[in-house]
């Protein structure tokens, strides 16, 4: 594993993220932080979408629930950051397993719709759930940043942690792809029934993939909402983010590892520019839509597909 160049390419990418802001360029840090979040979401989505071919429209539900659990543990129960994150991650993975049990027997379109249903049901429920602040959400006191050395330092620590999570997501994606489990998922993506007939334990693999793809986004969500010291249903379960994750994964090239990462980075840069450009503030989604339409119709393999066809040698180095 360590001899494969791609392993080190990932390591370099992580290092770049960590070092670029020099511990002082806040502007760059904020921009890279969002890119890291997108990369994390897209890479984990890829496990279901790119490998097994199951479109999870509601993948944001993991991010949001992770955020809620973490903020609740820290705010109401007074736990520290590390335990809150870990337990949030585990709790959401378990929840994903439970949801998965129900919806993973669905295929294609029905599955996609069901994931939307799950996200909306969870959002509607949390909106009514008073211990979690209902529709107002939970606010954290700035004092919670003190154990991390004050707000300024805490923001840096959160950033490094998110970069780490991003890195783990990329590695997870990589190891899964190279493993027997990953092979099973890919075969499910190609032809689920044939895979089942050939002995791939499809229900178990799907459930595992769904659950695994929930763990890291949950932790990322916990970090993201802890940073904002605030979580509310409308933000936590915003379908726009999972939409963007899908666009990013398709844009970059589903089923590859570099694809979602590349797509996420490009999309984030574009988005950042659109965010503040007065004329184009609402165009973010138009651009996303046009991109997606073009990709789906003409280049379903995404950017990586294009690169691989142009330079086939890349396949040996990248994944």
């Amino acid at each position: 594993m360590l001899r494969r160049p791609f392993f080190w390419i990932i390591a370099v990418a992580i290092a770049v993220f960590a070092i670029a802001p020099h511990g002082e360029d806040v502007e760059l840090r904020e921009s890279l932080l969002l890119a890291a979040v997108y990369i994390t979401l897209a890479s984990n989505l890829n496990i279901m979408l790119g490998y097994a071919g199951y479109v999870n429209f509601g993948s944001i539900v993991f991010f949001g629930l992770g955020g809620y659990f973490c903020v609740y543990f820290m705010g109401a129960l007074g736990w520290g950051l590390a335990p809150s994150l870990l337990v949030a991650g585990v709790a959401v993975s378990v929840a994903a397993l439970v949801f998965g049990l129900g919806i993973l027997r669905l295929r294609g379109v029905h599955f996609a719709l069901a994931t939307i249903g799950v996200n909306e049901a969870v959002m509607a429920f949390v909106t009514n759930f008073e211990p979690w602040g209902g529709s107002t959400g939970i606010y954290l006191s700035p004092e919670l940043f003190q154990p991390l050395g004050g707000p300024a330092q805490a923001l840096w620590i959160i950033y490094y942690l998110l970069v780490a999570i991003m890195g783990v997501s990329l590695y997870l994606s990589y190891f899964v792809k190279r493993s027997k489990f990953g092979l099973g998922l890919l075969s499910i993506g190609q032809n689920e029934d044939a895979a089942a007939v050939l002995g791939v334990p499809t229900p178990r693999y799907k459930a595992l993939a769904y659950s695994a793809s929930a763990f890291l986004p949950a932790i990322a969500g916990g970090l993201y909402f802890f940073k904002g010291a605030f979580v509310q249903p409308a933000d936590a379960f915003d379908l726009t983010l999972s939409t963007e994750a899908i666009v990013i994964t398709m844009l970059g090239g589903q089923g590859t590892i570099v694809g979602p990462a590349l797509g996420a980075y490009l999309y984030e840069e574009l988005r950042g520019w659109l965010l503040t450009s007065e004329t184009f503030a609402s165009f973010q989604l138009v651009v996303a839509g046009v991109l997606l339409l073009l990709i789906v119709q003409f280049a379903p393999e995404g950017l990586m597909g294009f690169f691989y066809r142009r330079w086939p040698r890349l396949r040996r180095v990248l994944e």
């Binding site: 294609g108 996609a112 939307i116 909306e120 991109l291």
Partner: protein, 290 residues
Amino acid sequence: MLGLAASLLDGVLVGAVYGLAAMGITFIWGVMDVVNLTHGAMIVAGMFGVYLLVAASGAPAYAALAPVLLAGFLAGVALYWIAIHRMIGRPPLMSLLATFAVNLVLIGLGTAMWGTALFNVSVSLPGLSLGRYTFPGTHIMAAVLTAVLAAVLYLFLYRTRAGKAVRAVAANREAAELVGIPTTRILALSCGLGVALACVSGGLIATLFPFTVLSGDAYQLKSFVVTVLGGMGNPTGALVAGIALGLLEGLITPFMPVSWTLVIEFVLFVIVLIAFPGGLLSLGRRRAVR
């Protein structure tokens, strides 16, 4: 007790319009196996269509529905050619993403043009009063018009040649092609019909409640819930399921905070998807082949 009856009755009225909206989705789904995720944007287009026509010409809102219906039909045909034609026969996922993409573009453009301000079409229609409760005239009118449109659709499907062709393509596209039915044209026609239904239901909703460019999403979700309840590809089922959903809402709201209705609806949605993929109405009859 009267309160409950009033609630239920109002639920039926509004539910009928939800059913109409859902018919748009289920129709396209049934005929070409495509889930039309631009549905929400088309509903909003219908809303704005009625609003703009009323604002520009001062005509009564209901008169504006006819041009909206027509424009919706044309838009649907256009949608077919832009996003769906290449996706026929490909994995349904692709058409899902393609229509989803068009939806993003339309909503984005709409937001750029009209912002997210609230718009309102004012319709003054005397309501029906029962005791202390009043049924707004708009609700009654909307339900009546829905019934009319549903009847027209039924007549089209079962009493015309074109309708027969549509049903043939829905049943088996390759076979229909083999017997000489111009499938591409029929598919485009069906798409036009589905979108027309979406637009006109949007126009009707505009007479009931205020709306923004983003309202489409909520109604699209509701349409999906209704579609799933009624059985994908089953227009009658959609109408019945819409009314049933309205009834359910009317039943819940007097007893629980109104905000719980959404939770119940979505949980129901997921359960029905998992347990009754043919819709609740399939329990009584044999399942569709699809």
